[in-house]
């Protein structure tokens, strides 16, 4: 290792840690997409990951719920701990892992089914019981995603008839319905207009009380508005990590400074 992690301005947070990565490396075939990421993500707070396109922040996010497993030539080295236990054991139940670590994608991706069936999809997968209680889960999840009031009279309507912002909140409701502890959000607002973006950001601040949220964003204002912790990625390396205020107001690495001041990226 030419440049050890300890030389870097990486301040691990105090308090309860939800996710921890140890020497995490990700390869796509021979290409090294992530180099030696050591980071601790605090429980029930919002952690933002920023950096220019192709810096590895989305790839990192996909290591946390093992979505990279779906890519044929992706290979992970090192470890990721969730509540202290490795998620890369040979006998890790990946379906159960993804139940605990939900993900919201860049473009809203509702299934071509009714609003109700979209939210009920997860509970039905995992063998949910009676109809009444399923209805309750759907309502609770839609309320949790601040969508209930807009759709409660049209639950049988196709989810594809919703606006982009509503579809993204539906995606969040769908994730909440399986009862995760962690929400991974991969640029959840990049396809939305400012009003819809504002609603999602408000929602994130509400959800923070109960969920650990990790958000990838290329919008630095968004990172500074919603997050308590920020990590800056560049070329597959975690350059700087610490409190959001610290990263934006007093960055320690010159490259972080250049990036948050908009000098590149």
């Amino acid at each position: 290792m030419s440049e050890s992690n300890t030389d870097r301005p990486i301040e691990q947070p105090e308090g309860e840690i939800k996710i921890e990565t140890r020497g995490l490396n990700l390869f796509y075939d021979a290409f090294r997409a992530l180099t030696d990421i050591n980071v601790a993500i605090p429980a029930r707070q919002i952690t933002a990951l920023i950096g220019p396109s192709g810096c590895g922040k989305s790839s990192f996010l996909r290591c946390l719920n093992r979505m990279n497993d779906l890519i044929d030539d992706a290979r992970v080295e090192g470890d990721v701990l969730l509540d202290g236990g490795s998620i890369y054991e040979d006998d890790t139940d990946v379906a159960q892992l993804r139940k605990r670590v939900g993900m919201v994608f860049q473009t809203p991706n509702p299934f071509p089914m009714s609003i109700y069936d979209n939210v009920a999809y997860g509970p039905r997968l995992h063998g949910f019981g009676g109809r009444d209680s399923l209805g309750e889960v759907v309502e609770k999840s839609l309320r949790g995603a601040a969508l209930w009031d807009e759709v409660k009279d049209n639950l049988r309507k196709s989810a594809l008839d919703l606006s982009g912002g509503q579809q993204q909140r539906l995606s969040i409701a769908r994730v909440l319905a399986v009862g995760p502890d962690v929400l991974l959000m991969d640029e959840p607002c990049s396809a939305l207009d400012p009003t819809a973006t504002f609603r999602i950001e408000e929602l994130m601040l509400e959800l923070m009380e109960r969920y650990t949220i990790v958000i990838v964003t290329h919008n630095m204002y968004q990172a500074s508005r919603v997050s308590q912790h920020t990590g800056f990625f560049l070329l597959g390396e975690l350059i700087e990590y610490g409190s959001t205020v610290g990263i934006f107001e007093n960055p320690k690495d010159q490259r972080t400074d250049d990036y948050v001041r908009g000098r590149f990226g």
């Binding site: 993804r98 991706n109 071509p112 999809y121 997860g122």
Partner: protein, 283 residues
């Protein structure tokens, strides 16, 4: 030194357009000519009683037989073809096995249909003791259209956007749950269309059923079980055109017209089914 007069871009464009237009027209012409000749020559013999009659020359038995053959072929080929397509599209990772399977599909599609007929005779009729019958014919036809069905179904599965699969996996679904609840329902219109078009091809084939299923009977034309031989339109046409003397010219053309109408009808059904099912599902 220029001998020929310079061709301006305007003129070369006009020539190119004319040639391409004629080439495209060449597709329409034979089809139209065929249909027109067939219906004009067969017009005298085409009648409602022709297609509903079981008398000599009546086409009810071969229509029933062809329909039974096509339906049974679809029932046999659909599960195998769709399952293979799901494996290739959703499960298989690129490698030697997949290359081998694809090679087999390409080669299966290239085998002449008469070879299928002989193979069906050897395997289903003789080795498995089905005898010359509906079941043996449908099994042989199923082999013939299997590569078409696999290819069409795989194409339909690949059309389902990746983001829907990712959404499902991210909610903790297994691969099979994702296939069953998201991918398959959304690919169904394409799969059904491909299936109908493929078996439509089977409806017009003669060689595969020549040795395995078809017969020409004036006394007992309807199959009573899967193990009875059947009359088939394509085979009837083959027989009356080559083996039975003193058949009126018009009757042959009329039989051909009914066969073509049946195949075109199936194709139309495929197009309608696709439009209907597409309207219900979109993304």
């Amino acid at each position: 030194m220029r001998v020929l007069p310079r061709v301006t871009p305007r003129i070369s464009q006009a020539i190119a357009f004319a040639l391409l237009w004629m080439a495209a027209l060449m597709v329409i012409l034979p089809v139209t000519a065929l249909l027109v000749v067939m219906f004009v020559k067969g017009r005298g013999s085409l009648s409602w009683s022709l297609v509903t009659s079981t008398e000599a020359g009546g086409l009810l038995a071969p229509i029933v037989g062809t329909t039974a053959l096509v339906t049974l072929t679809a029932v046999i080929v659909a599960p195998v073809g769709v399952a293979a397509a799901i494996y290739l599209s959703e499960y298989a990772r690129a490698g030697r096995l997949v290359r081998l399977i694809r090679l087999a599909i390409v080669n299966l599609a290239g085998v002449p249909s008469v070879v299928y007929g002989l193979f069906g005779l050897a395997l289903f009729v003789m080795l498995l003791h089905f005898g010359r019958c509906l079941l043996a014919g449908a099994c042989t036809m199923a082999l013939l259209v299997l590569p078409l069905v696999i290819t069409a179904a795989e194409e339909a599965l690949r059309q389902v956007p990746r983001r829907l699969r990712e959404a499902s996996f991210a909610l903790g679904a297994t691969r099979w749950q994702t296939v069953r609840r998201v991918v398959l329902p959304n690919a169904l219109p394409g799969i059904i269309t491909g299936l109908i078009l493929s078996v439509g091809r089977a409806a017009g084939e003669t060689a595969p059923i020549l040795f395995t299923a078809a017969f020409y009977s004036l006394t007992d034309p309807f199959p009573k079980s899967l193990f009875d031989p059947i009359e088939v339109l394509s085979y009837r046409l083959f027989v009356i055109a080559t083996e039975v003397p003193r058949i009126e010219e018009g009757e042959k053309w009329a039989t051909a017209a009914v066969l073509v109408a049946l195949v075109l009808g199936l194709n139309a059904l495929a197009v309608i089914a696709r439009a209907r099912l597409r309207r219900a599902r979109r993304w």
